[in-house]
């Protein structure tokens, strides 16, 4: 599969070219357009896997797009304004914030991994995604994506993390010296990464966007 990213970084679109008989897996709702010979099939990959994805903040179903009787094209985009990136899997493997997943080639197994309490505190939900196998993953972000090579230590606001290499170890903690200072600083929780590897930052944070706009909206009537 060949992937071409257009309209980066604000309005990114992934243009995927499928060989005859080739297919690609995508998050439900990510498809923008496709050639007529591409067949879409909806699958949950099993009840348990589907439910696990739902807990992870993804959708229960994922869609498979198969090019029949010739090559085909599928376009994918995430919901929010922002960037996209293609992650190569094989020599490198990745951890992905579950809301960042858009699509993946069939050779890659993108499975839900319990992040444990660390994942819970990160605000990313109890689960995140982990890759295995060979192929490519397309991710989508809120804001622009910035790839940073970690050499040693890096501290990142949990809301700005899109994906990171599995070689990195991490721990979630408060940003300031104490809990009151952390609350006042507005930084909340941060992720301390250690080791060698690449981290993809997203330049905007949905929680901060909500925090800026939310208070100006009229109250919900229940």
């Amino acid at each position: 599969m060949q992937i071409n990213l257009l309209y980066q970084p604000s309005q990114a679109l992934a243009q995927c070219w499928l060989q005859p008989g080739e297919s690609v897996l995508a998050e439900s709702g990510a498809m923008v357009g496709m050639t007529p010979n591409v067949q879409m099939q909806t699958q949950s990959g099993g009840m348990l896997k589907g439910l696990k994805r739902m807990f992870g903040g993804e959708s229960f179903f994922r869609n498979t797009f198969l090019a029949e009787g010739g090559g085909g094209e599928v376009l994918f985009a995430p919901a929010l304004c922002g960037d996209m990136a293609v992650l190569d899997c094989g020599a490198r493997q990745w951890n992905i914030q579950n809301s960042a997943y858009v699509a993946s080639t069939m050779g890659v197994d993108v499975h839900t991994k319990a992040g444990g309490m660390r994942g819970f505190f990160s605000g990313a939900g109890l689960f995140m995604l982990e890759s295995a196998g060979q192929g490519q993953i397309v991710i989508g972000a809120y804001g622009a994506l910035e790839a940073i090579q970690v050499n040693g230590d890096l501290v990142i606001d949990t809301g700005h993390i899109a994906a990171w290499e599995s070689t990195l170890t991490y721990s979630v903690g408060k940003s300031g010296s104490g809990w009151i200072a952390s609350w006042l600083s507005g930084e909340g929780l941060v992720c301390h990464f250690q080791g060698q590897g690449i981290v993809y930052l997203q330049s905007r944070n949905t929680a901060e966007y909500g925090g800026a706009i939310g208070p100006m909206l009229p109250p919900r009537k229940n």
Binding site: P9, S10, C81, G82, D83, G143, A144, E146, I148, G152, D153, L154, V155, I156, D157, H160, S175, G176, S177, A181, L184, S185, G186, E187, G188, H192, V199, L201, S203, R204, N205, E208, Y209, G211, A212, I213, P215, M216, L217, P218, R220, K221
Partner: protein
Amino acid sequence: MQHLIKHQPSFALLQVQLGPSETLMAEAGSMVARSHAIAMEVKLNAGRNAGFFGKLKAVFIALIRKLIGGETFLVNHFSGPSGGQVWVAPALSGDILHLPLAGQRMLLSAGSYLASAGEVDMKMRWGGLRALLAKEGAFFIEVSGSGSLFATSYGAIQQVNVNGTYIVDNGHLVGFDSSLDFNIRSAGGGLMGLFASGEGLVCEFKGQGRVFIQTRNASALVDWLSPMLPG
């Protein structure tokens, strides 16, 4: 200190390389990432020479703003003995503007301060009674000194070189040189102009200096969004 602004104008990200013991001040909540060697300390932004009452006033404003939302006027100080990197970004989709300060003063609307470095001093400035009527512009931030100032916007930033008079919608104002006289008033004049024109309050500038305006307005987004939300 070296800086780089990337991904302009929609999703600007400020990357700062700090030398040993150099300090970057940034709006609370704006940090994206930092080197592990860089420590973060939250401080009250009362100005370096503020007396006891100045500090008390700043505490009061900071607490109120923390509770009702908006800019807290608490800033985070980033520094480390051996230096390192800090990445900073605003909450909304928009640009970051680098404004070098060399002794002059500038005024920023309350949400437009992102970060600063060097001998930069900040004060809250009351926008006047009429500004209270508007959703924005009740406070301005007066910035002076020498160093680097980073302002942020919702949307892209347009510089207007005023020579004479110029009028800007309050919600579209990022900041301006203090060499300009300004006056907040209703767009059409009178109550009708204020409520019926949809333009709300405007800032009228007189004199010579720069005005920076943002191409989008957060209040307009809220007005557009609100009717579509589920009841």
